[in-house]
Amino acid sequence: MSRLASRLGALREQGRSALIPYLTAGDPAPDATAGFMHALVEAGADVLEVGVPFTDPMADGPVIQGACERALAAGMSLSGVLDIVTEFRQRDNETPIVLMGYLNPVDRMGLDTFAERAQKAGVDGVLIVDMTAEEAPDVVPTLEDAGLDAVCLIAPTTGDARIEKICAKASGFIYYVSFKGVTGSASLDVSSLAASVERIRAKTQLPVAVGFGVSTPENAADVSRVADAVVVGSALVRQIAEHGADRDATQAALRDTLSAMRRAIDEQDNTQGEARRA
């Protein structure tokens, strides 16, 4: 079983929700990211999602676009992202890492080379935003042959037949995009979210993570009530943008932001657990 599946499986057994923070690798500088990742683990991250910067991140809002621009200006590349994962693994061999990015950098490196190097660096799962099930006949098997999970997106517009098709290919977890929009928009509707997550659960045993639009501890708690995992991105990346070159201040802000979410999720899990026991 992969590091990702065993971590998420264990949490599910304990009745706990996973917290998955996202950072764009190389923002604001390549040598900052591993430190930020450790800080996030200390603040309660269960899985880390590491963004591979791209010049044209068409599914991302302005906050993550800004992160991509800063990272690329600082010289970040897909190869550099894998180096960051290698560096992180020297101190942490437990926390699963999912790379999230767009197809072109992977395509340029070559899918086989990428899969092999990512596995060697210590990556556990890969989510390629603009790689749909239809266009992915070779991507998923190549990733899985290399021992990587292929995380797939499902959106509010995805019909039941497609959900089934996507779930049949995906591994690790399903990433449900909470609303029609780009990352970092604020329009989370928890009531419709529950029904959507159930629609996915009807088709798969894989854990369901929900992202896009989780910006406050309250959002995180609300999402954790219905999903197996909560993904937080723009709320953290905004801290990096605001603190600029001050690494210590940035790490403290990342820690504070994520711990508040962790606490809110844990409280929610405890309440839900007590309700279940009662």
Partner: protein, 415 residues
């Protein structure tokens, strides 16, 4: 000559060559094209494909389109023998297909009319578009005004500065022009922003893409709407000269005017086809917008195609004196036509295009768009290598009024 060209999006002729079969059902032109988008857009793209298939097979829709192309756009556009330009080139006869005479001054409206009618048919109330030089934005704002649809045009802030007149035209037509400040602040970033807007408003919004790029079905749909250019040209050539041209030349940014004139000639194997990319300062300098000449296969804006990119798969900055060609990708069908050798792709530098602009203006009294001036420049070179009884047909895709500032700036003058 005054009857509009009947629209035959599905020609129904025997499929002589593989290119008549393209794309496949999922939008692939050989290895190119396809649908590489975030999951949220998959269902809306399916919906669009179905609606387009239904519309193109509906005689009422096609009749409405024919009618608009005749009465509103002003089709058919003439073909014109540029005698003095031909004499100067000293070889083959150069003819222009006068897309510059269309309403709004370029070929772009052939496509926006078609897509806007489709949007109305699908019950969409809001239109969005990306624009570079502003011609597609103006053509979109125009049809939105006519159909009473809300219209938002995304335009890089750098392009808004370069094309201030077109920004004002769009506003006069009732469109909102939304500046795009991300990335290089040009066409590719405007397209990113339009895709982001579409993701957020898929229920009520129709995205009118201006070129033969983007996810399936856009490359095929935009080609079909633009192919009226080639169908008319082919018929006009046969009627006027009782023969086909020896060569067809068009500029290629995203490549919609080019595919529009090329497509109906693809089966005519004696007709040589030339796409002219923006060579900028020269392809060797790296400052250009010529992905087919100097790029590599990759994925951007929903399709696989030739792209200008670095060794890490990041999209490169582009340069061209012509904002409409200033794009790092190209329609996937062009990538495929290049690979199979049916079309040749060449490049023309900023300087060559500006020279052709001035020459065409001074000796023919036709002021070409800077985009089209690239095609004119290559046609001059090509004609010089050919015999006087041969014919080069150039797509005069747009008129140059919009480019006064760029032309003056290049000449060191200010208006």
């Amino acid at each position: 000559m005054n009857t509009p060209e009947p629209q035959q999006l599905d020609p129904g002729t025997p499929l002589v060559h593989a290119w008549r079969n393209m794309p496949d059902v999922r939008g692939h032109f050989g290895p190119y094209g396809g649908r590489f988008v975030a999951e949220t857009l998959m269902a809306p793209l399916d919906e669009l494909s179905e609606a387009y298939e239904a519309a193109r097979n509906d005689p009422a829709f096609m009749a409405a389109l024919d009618n608009d192309l005749a009465d509103y756009v002003g089709r058919p556009t003439p073909i014109y023998h540029a005698e003095r330009l031909s004499k100067k080139a000293g070889g083959a006869q150069i003819w222009f297909k006068r897309e510059d005479l269309n309403h709004t001054g370029a070929h772009k409206i052939n496509n926006t009319i078609g897509q806007a009618l489709l949007a109305a048919r699908m019950g969409k109330k809001r239109i969005i578009a990306e624009t570079g030089a502003g011609q597609h934005g103006v053509a979109t704002a125009t049809v939105a005004a006519r159909l009473g649809l809300e219209c938002v045009v995304f335009m890089g802030s750098e392009d808004m500065r370069r094309q201030a007149t077109n920004v004002y035209r769009m506003r006069l037509l009732g469109a909102e022009v939304r500046p795009v400040e991300s990335g290089s602040k040009t066409l590719k970033d405007a397209m990113n922003e339009a895709l982001r807007d579409w993701v957020a408003h898929v229920d009520d919004t129709f995205y009118i893409i201006g070129t033969v790029a983007g996810p399936h079905p856009y490359p095929a749909m935009v080609r079909d709407f633009q192919a009226v250019i080639g169908r008319e040209s082919r018929r006009q050539m046969l009627e006027r000269l009782d023969r086909l041209p020896d060569a067809v030349v068009a500029c290629v940014g995203g490549g919609s005017n080019a595919i529009g004139i090329f497509y109906p000639f693809l089966d005519d194997e004696d007709v040589q086809i030339y796409g002219v990319e923006a060579g900028g300062d020269g392809v060797a300098t790296g400052r250009h917008a010529a992905p087919l000449s100097a790029g590599r296969s990759g994925v951007l804006h929903g399709n696989r195609t030739y792209l200008m990119q670095d060794d890490n798969g990041q999209i490169s900055g582009t340069h061209s004196v012509s904002a409409g060609l200033d794009y790092p990708g190209v329609g996937p069908e062009h990538s495929w036509l290049k690979d199979i050798g049916r079309a040749h792709y060449v490049d023309i530098t900023d300087t060559e295009a500006l020279n052709a602009f001035h020459e065409c203006t001074r000796i023919e009294g036709i002021m070409p768009a800077l985009e089209s001036a690239h095609a004119v420049a290559y046609a001059q070179k090509l004609a010089a290598t050919m015999k006087p009884d041969q014919i080069v047909l150039v797509n005069m895709s747009g008129r140059g009024d919009k480019d006064m500032n760029s032309v003056a700036e290049a000449a060191g003058e200010s208006l």
